[in-house]
Structure formats: C-alpha cells, structure tokens
Amino acid sequence: MGNTITEKILMAHAGLKKIQPGDLINAKVDIALGNDVTAPIAINEFIKAGGGKVFNKNKIALVLDHFTPNKDINSAQQCKKVREFALKQKITHFYEGGNVGVEHALLPEKGIVLPGDLIIGADSHTCTYGALGAFATGVGSTDLAAAMMTGEIWLKVPQSIKFIIYGKLRKWVSGKDLILNIIGRIGVDGALYQAMEFTGETISRMPMADRFSMANMAIEAGAKNGIFAADAVTKEYVKARAKRDYKTYSSDADAVYTDIIEINAAKIEPQVAFPHLPSNVKGISKAGKVRIDQSLIGSCTNGRIEDLRIAARILKNRKAASHVRLIVVPATPEIYRQSLKEGLLDIFMKAGAIISPPSCGACLGGHLGILAEGEKAVATTNRNFVGRMGHPKSEVYLASPAVAAASAVLGRIASPEEL
C-alpha cells in the first residue's frame, strides 16, 4: 500500500521504512520556531532541565512578532528574555525590531522553511508551511523546549483527508474563500488530528500566497497539518530563497485516505465567517447588512503583497467610510517596502487607512487595534472566537482582503461587486 506525502515526510524524518497512521514516532526536526509569547516558557523549561547548548543554532527560529513593538513593560520583559537567549545561543534566525515580520509570512519569505522539511512551531499556525510541501505543525512551549535540546519531536502519524478542488475561481474569490468554505463544510473539528491534503487543477493554478492562506487555516478545522505537493509554482517561489538543499514528495496513487472530498470551486462566492467560530460561514450574498467599526487587512493569513495589491485595487480612489477604522498591516518588512515602491501605501493612506508596522497586533487582540464592547470588525485573519480582537462582547467576521476592503468603503460587510 502506498503512502501520503505527510506519511513520507514523517517516515524520512523518523528514519523508518514503514509507517502507518496511529504510529507514535520520534522525528528529527529541520526547524523549530518560537515567538515572544511561547518562547519565554520554552526557555524557562530549557534552562530548568539544564539545557546547555541548543541542538543546532541554525535550526531554531525565534521571532518577536506578537506584542511588538513592545506593547508594555511585561511584553518588553518577555522579548528581553528571548533576545538574551538568542544572543547567548547565537541563534541564526532571530528576528526583532526592524527585521521582524509576522512569523508565518517571514519564514517562507526568507527561505528558512523549505519543501520536504519537518517543521514544528510553538504557534498553532505553523501549519502555514504545508503550502510549500513540508510537514509543519503547531506544538506547545514544552515541545519547543524539548526540540531545542534534542532536535526531535514525538508525533502521532495522522490519517489524511484528500481535497480535490476543480473549476475556475470566480472574480474576487481567493484561496481564503476556498478554505473558509471548506471549514464551513467540515466544521472546526472536521479534520481533528488529521492531515488535510489539497490537490486538483484549481490548486495547480493557485499562486503561493493563496496556498499559504489555505494551509494557514488547516488548524481551524482541527487538523494537525495542511499540505500541498510541491510543484513548479512552489519551486519558482523557493528558487531565489533557498540556501540549502530540499526534497520534494508526492502522495502515491494507492495512498490511503479517511475521506476524499471533491469541491467545485467555480460555485463558490466570497465567504464570510460570522462570530464566533471560523466554521460559521456564509456566502457574501447571504451576509445581510452588518455595520462594521473596523476593517483589518493583514496577519499571517492575508498580509502578503498579493493580498495588499488586491485591497489596493479596490481602495484606489475610494475612501473608507467615516465610521470605519481601516488598518493595513504589511506582514513583513519586505512586503512593507514593496508596497511602498508600488504606491500601495499611498493608496491606503488616501483611503484613510492606518498603516501598522509588521506585527500580529490586533489579530489576537494584543494591541494596535483593539475592539470596544459591542464593536464589529471584518478581518482577513483566521480566528473569530469570543474576545479574539478585544472586548468579549465584540465581534469578528473573517473574510478575504477583497471583502475587507470593500466593506471598509461601504461601512458594512460587502462584496467588491457592490462598488
């Protein structure tokens, strides 16, 4: 019997010749990631266990992106702890200050994560890197501490669900809409403990930015990882970035899946996930008239240059409604600079937007755009749980950059078609 791409990567990293779902394995890690929220706990554990030197200073990434630029004294202390550790251990991939970007946009951009890798991160959206054809999964701080010591991680081999996606995407419909639609179909635990493998002609034509958005939200269906086989599009993306060798894998024709779900993408309109679950999804035509107070375009889901270009196309020569705070967050310094060069920032500012530094910021209700009681926001982020962006009685509606931009202009949740 054949193996899935996920099984093959795990097999290679565990040094095994055979593997099947349910097996508990010990696997070698190519990159272990932590941020300013999760790394401090990992560092404490590492020191408590007499950690000494990290297993490999080139295989650890520490990114201070959540409460930065430092929001308050506590967050400054957390960053200081990580910084001191990173400098002492001479960690190669340490990012802060003007070099920092939202981790899951930054690591692929810098070529730190590559196809065929096994990546763990003390951040649930580590699954984003599955877009490259890597096995990437979120773990906790203790896992990160253990991986920094030993270079290994214990994992249960997941079963896989295959999604075959065909048909041409309609205008203004993106990978974000597709993944919201899928989560709406299968629910927030629809892929619990499993791998979500995305294939089909729609995927082959899909640019990397959209693949990242899709893999990013695999966790919102409870999945262990989301994965796309590396193809010509992936290789083109990686070409200028990779500084080490990598390997590509694909699933065997006779690999075993718990489910195969076919989706006609041509039928999907822009999607909106209503509060308070990412699976609470409606097509934009059924969204009704939801007045918004804020529109947030950014995050590890949709803060890439392609996302900002789409938003700019809609916002050009238009203005955000007077009651809407429009916040644009380029996810990395490179994206920021590129937006500046292309004149996108100028378009955003003329539309009345606030341009935020690259940061997680408001996405997790950290800072730089918190909601008050009763306020509603449309956001290109990935979670709309109670209190996610501020007051427990505020609301978050998840959508694509196109919908977030159009909504900012009209002051309510809206499709770009309405402009």
Partner: protein
C-alpha cells in the same frame, strides 16, 4: 491517580481564547494566569470553583492557539483534571507534556449536572458519579503517553532517558 471534585460544565469548542484570553499573554507566571482562568467562557469561574474541582468539556476542548498558558492557568487555578468528549490536538499534547491530567469520555457530559461530584480513577479507567454510583469508562491512553505522565511530563521524561543512555 484518583481525582475527586465537583464538575464545571462547558460546551463544545471551548477555545484557548476563552480559557486564557490573549490580553493576559504578556506574562507566563502561573499564579497570574490562574486568576483569569476560563474568563471569557465564564467570568466567575475562578471565584466559584474550589481546589480539586474538575472541568468537563464537550467536543474539541482547547481548540485554537498553541498557548501553553491555557493548561498552565487551569492547573494553577487548582483544577485537578479536565474531562471532555474530545480534545483539540495541541491542547492534548500540551496537557501531557506539562502534566495536567486529561481524560476523554463521550458519555459523562450528557449524564451529569453541573456542580455534582465525581471520582476519577485513572488506573482503573473509571469515572464514578458520587450521588448515583453510576460508572463510566475513560478511553485508554497510549503506553507512551502513560510513560510521559509517570515521568512527570516531557522534560523529565527526556532527562530520564538521557540518564539511562548515559548509564549504558
């Protein structure tokens, strides 16, 4: 291990933002985190509960972020263990890695009212409702996970393994 306490019921898909909201993530101090445990699911939880009580969740308990602050705040608040119909996977591994006992039971949730007392006997794999003497089975844990718990969490497990290899 035996845990005895009152159950506090929460529904399906209790996410990590409800367990410990991100606004408190600028600290990792267990006692500070304990003060806000479950705040966005039930603002009075910490006031109502007593040490040793048990959290009872529905499906997909602990979904969302990877923050270990969630199991830390539950443990530090004095909750003895968490039982749910199912757990989100990162929460599941975090709980084992840091030594918060968690158990899966599909039946208990619908068979008990909030505030009633139960006894969990992990070695016998049973949950007993004190009032009615009704007994429920808990799903068994893979041997490797049992080892983790016996060693007192992942870091201690690794230390023990290292010592063993050293001795060879």
């Amino acid at each position: 291990m035996i845990f005895k306490g009152k159950v506090w019921k929460f529904g399906d898909n209790i996410d990590t933002d409800a367990i410990i909201p991100a606004r408190y993530l600028t600290t990792s101090d267990p006692q500070e985190l304990a003060a806000y445990c479950m705040e966005d699911a039930d603002p009075d939880f910490v006031k109502k509960m007593t040490k040793g009580d048990i959290i009872l969740g529905g499906e997909n308990f602990g979904c969302g972020s990877s923050r270990e602050h969630a199991p830390i705040s539950i443990k530090a608040a004095g909750v003895s263990c968490v039982i749910a119909k199912s757990f989100a996977r990162i929460f599941y591994r975090n709980a084992f890695n840091m030594g918060l006992p968690i158990f899966e039971s599909k039946e208990l949730f619908d068979a008990i009212q909030e505030g009633k007392e139960i006894t969990v006997d992990s070695s016998r794999g049973t949950i007993t409702i004190t009032e009615s003497d009704k007994i429920f089975k808990i799903d068994s844990i893979p041997p490797f996970m049992e080892e983790l718990i016996a060693d007192g969490g992942l870091m201690k497990h690794i230390a023990r393994k290292r010592e063993k290899n050293h001795g060879k």
